[in-house]
Amino acid sequence: MMEAVAVPPFERFYEEHRDAVFGLLARRLGRARAEDAFQETFLRALRGYGRLEHGRHLRAWVLTIAERIAIDDYRRPAPVPTELPDAEAPPEPTPAYAELADLTDGLPPTERAAVVLRYGYDLPYDQIGRALGSSEEAARQAASSGVRRLRKEGAR
């Protein structure tokens, strides 16, 4: 049986992960939009915190919440401009993590997390391993079997 890991008081959880969450959101959304998304991420975490059954994978959990909020934020229609739009403005490209989030929908959770964190967020494997509560090697394997599975599905 796996040893129970207690869920820490929220303060400690927040202090430990806030910079990683903000860093991820700032890279995806820019600092200004990251601020609202940051608050929303931790408020959402707070709403679910009382129901957590153990304290494993807390970083992966909160990064997943941040990821979903970043995607929602990205998809939200742009505010109605108050000035005439520049007709020549190029459309904003879809960020890598947003494409990956759709693409990887069908993967098992660990593989999906490893693929999105590696190729969507450019996290190194040792960090992904920590986020998933496993090792660097396990994270590498999860990402590569996720990619193999995607290739197979793509070929079908």
Partner: protein, 187 residues
């Protein structure tokens, strides 16, 4: 560097409390006897601690794990403590949310009645709580008082009038008693 700015940090902590998502909000309150950890739930004051270290786990066990440092919910307690240390407040008007029961609760209820500027003894408090021989047990209840200063365990002294002991240290006990006597040296 993508560190969270103090403004954003403060904004989140305020929002978490404003949305009613916390089991316990706490903050450090400056005082003449050192920084105090003050913790409140939505029902009332839960904890005042002279030693802020190691309080979070206990609060989480007793009240729930959504414990977050957040200044605003603590402000009413901060204000009353400031007034107390300025000597202008003699009675606290704060709802309490304590997790004590039985004899402990009875002793704390009696303790709350000991007036500002006066002292009583462990034995007297034991008698008033219905167990005259339980002076030692009363000492333990004082030692575990979750909200010192507000529940005035500093006003409880030994039968010879000696200060005996205090969770915040004897210096603090002496300071509080002298404060309540208008700064006169007593002990």
């Amino acid at each position: 560097m993508n560190a969270v700015s103090p403004q954003l940090d403060r904004r989140f902590r305020d929002a978490a409390a404003a949305e009613g998502l916390l089991d316990v909000a706490y903050d450090l309150v400056d005082s003449p006897v050192g920084p105090l950890l003050v913790a409140v739930s939505e029902r009332g004051l839960c904890r005042i601690a002279f030693d802020p270290e190691g309080q979070l786990d206990g609060l989480a066990r007793a009240y729930g794990r959504r414990v977050l440092r957040s200044a605003r919910p603590v402000d009413p307690v901060r204000r009353q403590l400031d007034e107390y240390f300025e000597g202008v407040r003699h009675d606290f008007e704060l709802p309490l949310d304590l997790t004590v029961s039985g004899f402990n609760a009875q002793v704390l209820a009696e303790l709350a009645l000991v007036p500002y500027g006066e002292t009583t003894t462990y034995g007297t408090l034991a008698a008033r709580s219905g167990r005259p021989k339980a002076a030692r047990a009363v000492g333990t209840v004082m030692h575990n008082n979750p909200v010192p200063i507000v529940l005035p365990c500093h006003r409880v002294v030994g039968s010879t009038g000696s200060l005996t002991g205090y969770g915040g240290g004897l210096e603090t006990k002496r300071f509080l008693l002298e404060l309540e006597h208008g700064g006169a040296t007593l002990f």
